[in-house]
Amino acid sequence: MDTFITLIQIAVGAALINNFVLHYFVGICPFLGVSRRLGTAFGMGCAVTFVISVAAVLSWTFTYYILRPGAPLPQWVWQTLGGSSATTVDLSVLSYIMYIFVIAASVQFVEMYVRRFFPPLYKSFGVFLPLITTNCAILFACLEIMKHLQDPTKLWGLHEALTLAVFGGVGFTIAISMMAAIREELEMCDVPRPLRSAGIGLITAGIMAMAFMGFTGVDKGIENTLNLLLK
């Protein structure tokens, strides 16, 4: 049951309390660039959620088995080559390069797969896929997962990594869709001329960020409620 509560906490934390866009400022480029229409914004959100999940699974696998300090694969190679078993092999210096490879490759594969097997889906969000390679939200999710694989006493499992990624993507979708909905209304308003390009978008985002600050502490409340209900 504890696992379940942890997962819910990670999910609420990633989607609402520490929203990727409004708290960590990652994925600002599409947040400001692709938020003119609600439809496209939602499509972008779905595409990001999809890629982020694929990249999280891959990067968790690579980090767990190869990159983290004392990972099984390099340790085995080291010992086969005659190294002493007391040494911990740490390849984490390679992780950034590895993640960039993983992200670029998974975007490429997702694009090919979706184009081949789900043409309607490709039509609706395929155009955004190449843009996502340089989306910081994906790399940020990989880095968060890596952070939780550094300490050997409390390693994250695949389910935790995946929850973080999926709900991080959901949080991004919520934020970008809200932004697009507000911007559609703003089109009708008389915004002061200097603010029209990006200024008003950022100010809107600031007010949204204030609203999202209200979620602080919700995870504690959910934990208490669940503990009461389940015991």
């Binding site: 480029c29 390679l94 200097p194 603010l195 390009s197 978008g201 950022l202 600031g206 007010i207 960020a209």
Partner: protein
């Protein structure tokens, strides 16, 4: 050649104000918003970005003859990732506290669109000297933008600048300025201000 490529000096000057990466091109927003709660992290970030940008631009310019069109983005990103790893290790070795504070934003320099756009626009087409001066100009412009944002946020948020008290003790610290919403609001207003000044100047001339 139909379109003359800008010279080294023009590249350098353009980077600082006329094509300022943040205010004019809206590039590199993620670190701009995230690390400008105070001057110290902002300037460390600007220095790290400058190091990566200059090194990547020089290297890309040196190997520009070998680049293949369909692989160039991958080569850019891998070059940048290598230098970011170096910068990250250096920060962790010499400025441990600061590297803790910047956290994930140092590795996120890899996906800073500013660097990749300079590699694409300038370094992959022009010589080493031009690429280097372009990178220095852009880094100065980026540092200037970070400094302006961090000044407003740190002074209003904590009454200090670079950790030194500049406002009287009685100043009620605007806590919101150092929190995420303050970053969005300040950058929005500063962008509006920059735009307004630009419009004034254009209509005045």
């Amino acid at each position: 050649m139909a379109l003359q490529e800008p010279t080294a000096l023009e590249r350098f000057v353009n980077g600082i104000l006329p094509e300022n990466p943040v205010y004019r091109q809206l590039l590199g927003m993620c670190p701009t918003l995230a690390v400008t709660g105070g001057m110290k992290p902002a300037m460390t970030m600007a220095a790290a970005t400058a190091f990566v940008l200059i090194s990547a631009n020089v290297i890309i310019s040196l190997i520009r003859g070998l680049l293949r069109p369909h692989l160039r983005i991958l080569v850019f990103t891998l070059t940048i990732a290598t230098f970011v790893t170096i910068a990250d290790r250096l920060l962790a070795a010499y400025l441990y506290q600061m590297s803790k504070e910047l956290g994930p934003y140092v590795p996120l320099i890899i996906v800073n669109c500013l660097i990749i756009s300079r590699c694409e626009i300038c370094a992959s087409k022009q010589g080493v000297a031009t690429a280097a001066s372009d990178a220095v100009g852009m880094s100065l412009g980026f540092a200037l933008a970070l400094a302006s944002l961090a000044t407003v946020r740190e002074v209003l948020g904590t009454g200090t600048w670079f950790g030194l008290a500049v406002l009287p003790q009685s100043w009620p610290n605007w806590g919101i300025m150092v929190l995420p919403p303050g970053a969005f609001l300040t950058l929005g207003l500063l962008l509006g201000l920059a735009e307004w000044v630009g419009q004034k100047r254009r209509s005045g001339v």
